[in-house]
Amino acid sequence: MIEPLLQVESLSKRFGALRAADEISLGVAEGELHALIGPNGAGKTTLLDLLCGLTEADCGSITFQGRSVGSMSMEARARLGLVRSFQVTSVFPTLTVEENLVLAVMAAQGGNFGCWSPPLDDVQLLQPARELLTRVDLIQKSALPAAALSHGERRQLEVGMVLATAPRMLLLDEPMAGLGPGGTVQLTRMIQGLKGSVTILLVEHDMPSVFTLADRITVLVRGRVAATGSPQEIRHDPAVQEAYLGRGDDA
């Protein structure tokens, strides 16, 4: 069996008496879209915090590309290609969509004190930027200022900017939160398009999109892994249905 890109072993984190993460183990294979679901307070966000390096685990190990990253800083993990996109979208509102991405590509390429040639005429910047725009479904909007984008489109842009740093694995934290039905469909389509080219760990509440997108799903309940499997297996797992789906979210 091939070693997974990300391997988590018995990861635990306590906040006082609360076991936010309790002996969590899971593996995400290269190219896979792995969804993480669970009722509120199940510890999904805590797990992402632990994975990206925002908080440090009490015990357990995180292995990324065969290297132990558990004690690395967030920046160091990002440099290895383990990158988190936050719930709060953060773009450059008065710059155009294209300029936003060009800036991100510039950051990845370096050498940016040039005062003479316009970056928007530079194929080396423009081509990757345009490719990314296509990947995040925003090529039609490239001339608009980012402020004119809808909520969901800004998320797409944000993901595009994260992709510009060429991550091996994306940690997406509830990208659908706060979006209307239209936005959700659009963003689902975009993530669908990313599948295969980048490994994704997706935390999401919106069940239809999770079941459309995920190759495998891990269910967290009260800080523990309740089940892991294909969407089909999860849908029919009696324990999961009782603990989570049975509440009528996805009847």
Partner: protein
């Protein structure tokens, strides 16, 4: 992209007007207007340089007049020593800078001095944010103001009077026409360079920092360095405007550095529309013309100008440039 083109067109139109007005004034026999137009031009240059900091860099500096003053005094002090026949600097090891009325030398010294002090004060000011930045830039400008007031040798509060406009080989600068077109040439040169600068990689990073400093840092850009370089370059450009101003009015005084002068230049930028380069030119034109016209009707014109500024802030947020773009937008 279309907005950019329209902006470009507007700038060409404005510069064309600047180029064509002087002969028109002469035809109408209204030569005195030329000196007003020349002042507008020079203030426009100063305001456009502030626009680099304010509009593109998002740094609210209330001390830009200091660099104007440093430029003006560079010209004034050089000329003063030339009249006196003494040296500006007389350091050991043959380091002697004699007085001079050369315009080019004055421009060179002004760019170096204003750029240097921009770098120096900027390196401290840019460690702060928001209101602190506004006030520390203000305080630095006041510092220069008081410094020059205390320089009795150079006229203290009264400043330095120049005899004539200095020398430039091949040109008679005392001819108002020639001096005007020289200023226009320098302004155009600045605008071309500034246009390149703001659309370059550097400019894009700068504008990114104006929008969202946090995100830019997260991308790994050293925001401070970009801002500091921009601040110093804008200071140097203001120094050039200062030299031109000194020679145009044939007079240099600490009043040029007073904080209300910084405020006035800032008003020009906002009135015209910040982040556009051409807006500040329009702003300088409108403000100086307004002063001139209101002064005809009442000596208390400031009592009208004040509320006018407030109304502009409240209701015309993108300044004259924004209004023109809106009108232009309907045509398209």
């Amino acid at each position: 992209m279309r907005a950019f083109l329209r902006n470009e067109r507007l700038m060409l139109t404005v510069l064309l007007v600047f180029a064509l007005l002087p002969p028109l004034f002469q035809l109408m026999g209204q030569e005195y207007l030329l000196s007003l137009l020349n002042r507008i031009l020079i203030y426009g240059l100063a305001a456009a340089s502030l626009d680099l900091i304010l509009g593109y860099g998002g740094m609210v500096s209330l001390g830009h007049a200091a660099f104007l003053g440093i430029g003006a005094y560079s010209a004034g002090i050089l000329a003063f020593h030339s009249y006196e026949g003494s040296a500006v600097l007389n350091w050991p090891m043959g380091l002697v800078l004699p007085g001079s009325e050369s315009l080019l030398l004055a421009l060179f010294v002004a760019v170096v001095m204003a750029g240097f002090f921009g770098l120096l004060t900027g390196s401290i000011s840019l460690r702060t944010r928001g209101m602190h930045f506004i006030m520390i830039t203000l305080a630095f400008a006041q510092m220069f103001y008081y410094l020059f007031i205390s320089l009795d040798r150079y006229g203290g509060e009264d400043g330095i009077s120049l005899f004539g406009r200095g020398h430039l080989p091949g040109f008679d600068l005392n001819n108002d026409f020639i001096y005007y077109y020289l200023c226009l040439f320098i302004l155009i040169l600045f605008l071309v360079l500034a246009r390149r600068f703001t659309t370059s990689r550097f400019g894009l990073v700068l504008r990114g920092g104006r929008d969202n400093e946090q995100r830019l840092r997260a991308l790994g850009f050293p925001v401070y360095r970009y801002r500091l370089i921009c601040y110093a370059l804008a200071a140097a450009a203001a120094g050039v405007a200062g030299v031109l101003m000194a020679h145009q009015g044939e007079y240099v005084s600490p009043g040029l550095m007073h904080w209300t002068k910084s405020g006035e230049i800032m008003v020009m930028v906002l009135l015209g529309g910040s982040g556009t380069l051409v807006g500040p030119l329009l702003g300088a034109g409108v403000l100086l013309l307004l002063e001139e016209v209101l002064a005809i009707y009442t000596e208390h014109w400031m009592v009208i100008l004040g509320p006018f500024l407030i109304l502009v802030v409240l209701f015309a947020r993108n300044g004259i440039h924004g209004l023109l773009m809106k009108i232009g937008g309907r045509d398209d």
